[in-house]
């Protein structure tokens, strides 16, 4: 687009029709992956994403995807494919997970299929990406926090590897994987699910091209990006111009014994309708698995911005023309270079990037921004493995039990089941019964913890307590939780959310504290007791609607004492708001709080 001021002339009908069609293609891919996957992380938690890229390798559609999987990265991966395979033909499929070439982290396996028309022209690319239950790391976890480098991390890496030609597997690659992945049958089933999703996407795109015409589709793509850009332009013009910095401090962890501040600077130029996020003022790459890949650093920054605007945007490359992210090579939240380890690139420091952007955006004014979201990865979503005593078979899987983490915004309380900030709440939760059937575990408790919510005009989601452990055998459990020391902060006067807390319940019932990062072997009958951290609050607690406080008390989210002491809301014996007493309380509390 030439200037921001002139509205592009678009075919509004074609936009509506074809954008629905493309979303439909992506949903059919998502559906295929969910229905055919073998590991719980895929067929229950839905920790995967699918998308379509334009012929220019730009993100076109990613309906229902986890944001950090797709916002930036798929574009870089296709560019990489073109470098290593100048000829992309029909029937090809590529396996890719290289963190140095556009992927999120090694545990996310991608299958890419070029959509090639009958004339041999590469028109689009479809991609399916799924978090694996295991990726061949040196430890049975897909997040190797302590890995000093990619060698210690141990994942098998694929850099644009042609796994199919003419719709046939290269069996050599399949055999390599089978020797390296824990529970190879499960891996192979998940590989087929990824491949099926990509092939279903290819099939549907070929049908669409034949029906609509490839030239017409190309025109649409241009218009769709312009339209999406225009929505972003209008939204940004309504924001105030300025620059704000924010820092979100990651907890002490292996590799960062003193913790690590993540700094962002957000600039808004409303006249030019541009937002810039600068991540360059951050530490160099670390000697551990926490480094954030280029794809995730850029996606996390973009996510922080679009989460904070609260307008209808069409999220694709057109929108991103208006949001620039500045990255630096060899930066822990920038562009890491081989052989730096990026095993946990989708979560820890990336969460901090998104959260810091939320806070910087909040500084621009009321109605903008978002509190910090509760951070990953507590034991509630830990990776478990062992041998199932009921069958003698080995198992490995990432559980998705009780999750929380929603931070408050200017319009509502935090969404309870956000889980991992980068997932945008799209990941699903496990069923207790299904988990107990599939693995030798028992889930004793899943509940919200009253009086832990970050108070605010809008509240963060409360802590979520989960207790579980092995039955009939020991079990390995790996987790690494941020937000045990530095919980999710509130914004604009909202309070901080509850921290991650971990304890081990011994066979005699007694509790002992655990570290936020552990490689545990739980004995039969032992339990881990984990609190999933909550999100921060938005605005001062004394501005919360007294009726919302009354509901919170009635529903057991908070106690009547907390209602009085923190929110200045007094309830009468029937549980109704006592208006006069509330007004007096709020005056008194407001005076001491200085508001």
């Amino acid at each position: 687009m030439s200037t921001a001021s002139e509205k592009p002339k678009v075919d509004g009908v074609r936009l509506a029709v074809l954008s629905n069609r493309l979303d439909g293609v992506v949903r059919s891919m998502m559906h295929t992956l969910l229905r055919t996957g073998r590991s719980g992380v895929i067929n229950t938690a839905r920790d995967f994403s699918c998308c379509i890229l334009s012929g220019e390798d730009e993100l076109l559609s990613a309906a229902e995807a986890a944001p950090l999987h797709v916002l930036v990265g798929p574009d870089l991966i296709v560019k990489r494919l073109r470098e290593v395979h100048p000829e992309l033909g029909r029937g090809d499929a590529f396996l890719h997970n290289s963190p140095y070439h556009g992927n999120s982290h090694a545990a996310d396996h991608c299958i890419l299929v070029p959509v090639v028309d009958d004339a041999g022209v590469h028109r689009f690319t479809v991609m399916a990406k799924a978090h694996q239950a295991d990726c061949g790391n040196s430890l049975p976890t897909t997040y190797h926090m302590g890995a000093r480098d990619v060698y210690e991390e141990g994942a098998l890496l694929f850099d644009g590897v042609k796994v199919q030609a003419d719709y046939r597997d290269n069996e050599d690659i399949i055999r390599m994987c089978r020797l390296r992945m824990r529970v190879p049958e499960q891996w192979y089933g998940d590989y087929l699910a990824l491949l099926g999703a990509a092939r279903v996407g290819e099939r549907r795109m070929l049908e669409l091209g034949a029906e609509v015409g490839w030239e017409e589709l190309e025109e649409y793509v241009g218009e769709w990006f312009d339209y999406s850009e225009q929505l972003a332009v209008e939204a940004i013009r309504r924001l105030p111009s300025g620059r704000h910095r924010a820092t979100s401090v990651h907890d002490p962890f292996p590799g960062i014994p003193d913790g690590l501040p993540v700094n962002v600077e957000v600039g808004i130029d409303a006249d030019a309708a541009l937002i810039e996020v600068d991540l360059r003022d951050n530490a160099d790459c670390l000697e551990c698995g926490l480094n954030v890949t280029e794809a995730c650093a850029a996606s996390a920054a973009l996510l922080g911005v679009v989460n904070s605007i609260h307008e209808d945007l069409a999220i694709n490359a057109g929108c991103f023309r208006r949001i620039r992210v500045r990255l630096r090579e060899n930066c822990c939240v920038g562009i890491p270079v081989h052989p730096v380890s990026c095993s946990a690139a989708t979560t820890n420091l990336a969460d901090r990037v998104t959260n810091a952007v939320h806070r910087a955006m909040s500084e621009f004014g009321d109605g903008i921004g978002l509190a910090e979201l509760g951070m990953a990865l507590p034991a509630s979503i830990g990776v478990v493995s062992g041998v199932d005593p009921r069958t003698g078979e080995p198992y490995v899987n990432e559980l998705f039990l009780g999750v929380g983490g929603g931070g408050a915004g200017p319009h509502s309380d935090g969404w309870l089941t956000i889980a991992i900030p980068c997932s945008g709440g799209m990941i699903l939760r496990d069923s207790v019964e299904l988990d107990e059937l599939r693995h030798p575990i028992r889930v004793e408790t899943q509940r919200i913890v009253p009086d832990t919510e970050a108070a605010g005009r809008w509240c963060g989601s409360p802590g979520v307590l989960v207790e579980y452990g092995p039955v009939g055998a020991s079990m390995s459990l790996l987790y690494a939780a941020d937000a045990a020391v530095n919980p999710a902060l509130g914004v604009r006067g909202g309070e901080a959310g509850p921290p991650a807390i971990h304890r081990r319940r011994l066979a005699d019932g007694s509790l002992v504290d655990l570290q936020p990062v552990e490689e545990l072997l739980l004995a039969d009958g032992e339990r881990v007791v984990a609190q999933y951290p909550g999100g921060g609050g938005y605005g001062p607690a004394l501005e919360r609607d007294p009726e919302a406080v009354r509901r919170d008390v009635r529903e057991g989210w908070i106690s009547a004492d907390r209602a009085r002491e923190v929110y200045g809301v007094a309830l009468d014996p029937d549980g109704l708001v006592d208006r006069d007493a509330t007004e007096a309380l709020r005056r008194a509390l407001g005076g001491s709080a200085g508001s």
């Binding site: 509506a16 029709v17 099939r203 309870l416 089941t417 069923s431």
Partner: protein
């Protein structure tokens, strides 16, 4: 004489089958304050038209099948009973957490949805079973009595009981029932293992609590129904059409009121299946029912009514999952009342906001100001301003055109006809997407199907939908305007029997499987003579690869397994089905089978299919009006009456076919004819260009 009544949001439909081969269709306004008034009204309307009294008409009936939106409305408006949820100790938040997920990953303006039963009415019961049903901790009876006491104090009106692993061992739930019977007599309760014995505690708990919450209300409603129709003179059997597309005695529905959710729309595919079979050779029927605010769609494949366990009351992730097996009918917010608007970026949207029946579209002249799909159809010349609802409602064509011009044409910078065509096209696209959602879920190619259009507004874009889907054929049944009620009259024709019996092709237990199949057949034999001509019993297995957790419904080619070859065939069929749906198969893998189902269908006697008796109102003369067609512009279009089309006399579009209850728009080049069953059958001129499916991968 048999009656079917369907109480919808706007109209109460009555279809009468006189037993001599003729159907009659009547409509009366729904009376929201007491829907039973509307039910008796529509019988009065029918009696007047048939020249008899209401009492005599009712007295001559043998069966009354009742369909209603009463329970779904109660859920939507939050007027169900004050319901408690009894859950396993440690798991009070099953209904709060749900299965996670949300509609939009970037939307932080939307409040998290409240649980179906509030936490303040949720009570934990100490006691725990494991995955095999073994007791880990016994049920704590003292704690149970304490819970009962607390429920009594807060005046609970119904109780849903869902304990972990009750599906494997119901002992604890049964014990709770004993105590509730004794301590809270008269308070209805639902036990999860009885209602919906399915794995995954959120789905089971949700269906249990929804069911319990409907019990007081539906018991009352169905009791009144019975009293009032009996008092009005009906002496036959009263049945209710159910969420799984069958009928059940009202007493059964009162005990399991979750069966009454979706009770009307679930019948549309039953009727659609019949007309697809009568009027078309396609093995896939896409049944679409277009109302004022919603578009309900289902897909019938090989004569099988589609089923799902993923029905949501309201939007996915925001509403509540019923978790209960039901006919797979999806609703989208697209219908005659859907509002069209152009956003800041210049993109046209249609719906989901609807002008509803009140104030309704601009052309209704009842105060509506937002341009709607119906207004677009007036502008396009599809609807006759003087003959809408048989002339009962005069439409304001000038106002409709002004609204489309100001709200759509000018913002888009196109002329008003093109704008109206665009509104209908986007509405069509939403409907196509709803259809594709269903077909995708089942991996069906809609191009091989026939579109069966029901609802008064179906004919306006049924041909356009078919063209977009690439299916070459549209059928509009005579009774299309009351498809659900018509379906209710056909619904005793099929039944579904299920048994859970795990098996694997790795160590195939033919004896056990054959015994399970035999048990299914013997249960079916109680209601059907399986050897009778016209009775078809189809065996399907719910099958999957090891470690998958979602199943495919696989038709089983044999009646019993007698050799290894039978098992190999089953495996090969599964690989093919998996490949067909998901583009891949796993040739070296074994196949697991969990649930076996026997679907029994009794084909309608081929003698004289019931036909709609001739309309009584005066026949309109053929005429011509200007109508707009995409790609052809404004065209002088003949308008004919439904009745004027006769079998074997083909007409070619452009053409508009009208009756007092429906309007069918036939594109230029498409052909239309009446079929022997009375339906209109449209054959599209140009099938969409198609490509051969790409080869998938074989492992």
């Amino acid at each position: 004489m048999r009656f079917a009544v369907d109480t919808g949001g706007t109209f109460t439909d009555l279809v009468i089958d006189d037993g001599a081969g003729a159907l009659r269709l009547f409509k009366a306004p729904t009376t929201p304050a007491d829907p039973l008034d509307g039910l008796l009204d529509v019988f009065a309307v029918a009696a007047t038209e048939l020249g008899t009294s209401r009492a005599d008409l009712l007295g001559s009936g043998s069966t009354l099948v009742y369909g209603t939106t009463r329970s779904i409305n109660a859920v939507i408006t939050g007027t169900t009973a004050r319901t408690a949820f009894l859950t396993t100790d440690g798991h009070p938040d099953i209904l709060l957490f749900r299965e996670g997920g949300r509609p939009n990953p970037f939307d932080y303006t939307r409040a998290y949805p409240p649980p179906y039963v509030p936490r303040s009415l949720t009570f934990e019961l100490p006691g725990r079973l494991d995955y095999a049903g073994a007791v880990v901790r016994e049920l704590d009876e003292a704690a149970l009595l304490d819970v009962v006491d607390r429920m009594r104090r807060v005046r609970v009106e119904a109780v849903g009981v869902c304990l972990l692993w009750s599906i494997v061992n119901p002992a604890h739930e049964l014990r709770v029932a004993d105590v509730l019977e004794r301590e809270l007599p008269g308070v209805p309760y639902t036990l999860s293992h009885e209602l919906n014995p399915t794995l995954r505690e959120y789905r089971r708990a949700s269906s249990t609590c929804i069911d319990a919450s409907l019990k007081p209300l539906m018991t009352e409603h169905l009791t009144q129904l019975e009293e009032r129709v009996r008092a009005a003179g009906f002496g036959g059997t009263i049945l209710m059409s159910t969420t799984n597309g069958g009928t059940q005695p009202v007493a059964v529905v009162a005990r399991k009121p979750i069966l009454s959710l979706n009770s009307g729309p679930a019948m549309a595919p039953v009727a659609g299946r019949y007309y697809a079979a009568a009027d078309s050779r396609a093995d896939t029927a896409i049944v679409a029912d277009t109302g004022g605010t919603t578009f309900d769609v289902s897909v019938v494949r090989d004569g099988r009514i589609p089923r799902t366990r993923e029905t949501w009351l309201g939007q996915q992730f925001i509403g509540h999952i019923t978790g209960f097996p039901s006919v797979d009918v999806r609703s989208v917010g697209a219908g005659g009342g859907s509002i069209a608007r152009v956003d800041a970026g210049g993109r046209l949207h249609v719906g989901p906001q609807s002008a509803g029946a009140d104030p309704g579209p601009v052309c209704f002249g009842k105060g509506g100001v937002a341009a709607t799909v119906t207004d677009a159809c007036v502008v396009l010349g599809y609807l006759d301003a003087d003959y809408f609802a048989g002339g009962d409602l005069r439409l304001d064509a000038t106002a409709a055109e002004a609204a489309i011009r100001e709200q759509v044409a000018e913002p888009l910078g196109i002329d008003v006809s093109a704008a109206a065509a665009a509104v209908l096209e986007v509405a069509t696209e939403l409907m196509v997407r709803a259809i594709e959602d269903v077909t995708l879920q089942q991996g069906i190619d809609p191009r091989s199907g026939v579109l069966v259009g029901g609802g008064g507004a179906a004919g306006l874009n049924a041909v356009a939908i078919a063209r977009r889907l690439g299916c070459g054929e549209v059928v509009i049944p005579e009774v299309g305007a009351a498809l659900s009620a018509a379906g209710a009259l056909m619904s005793d024709l099929s039944a579904d029997y299920a048994i859970t019996h795990s098996a694997s092709t790795a160590r195939f237990d033919a004896e056990g499987v054959n015994a399970a199949i035999e048990q299914l057949r013997s249960r079916a034999s109680e209601a059907y003579d399986l050897s009778a001509p016209g009775v078809r019993a189809e065996l399907v297995a719910e099958a999957r690869y090891p470690h998958q957790v979602w199943d495919i419904e696989l038709p089983v080619a044999v009646e019993r397994f007698t050799s290894d070859a039978d098992v190999e065939r089953l495996k090969a069929d599964f690989h093919a089905a998996h490949r067909d749906l998901f583009a891949v198969d796993d040739r070296d893998s074994d196949v697991e089978l969990l649930t076996w189902r026997l679907r029994v269908t009794r084909v309608v006697s081929d003698g004289t299919p019931a036909r709609l008796a001739s309309a009584t109102d005066a026949r309109r003369e053929p005429r011509v009006r200007l109508a707009h067609f995409a790609g052809a512009g404004s065209v002088e279009t003949p308008v004919v009456a439904f009745e004027d089309l006769v079998p074997d006399a083909e007409r070619v579009g452009p053409l508009i076919v009208e009756s007092p209850v429906t309007t069918v728009v036939v594109d230029p080049g498409a052909t239309i004819a009446r079929t022997a069953s009375g339906s209109l059958r449209v054959v599209l001129a140009d099938r969409m260009t198609t490509v051969e499916p790409q080869p998938g991968v074989s492992a």
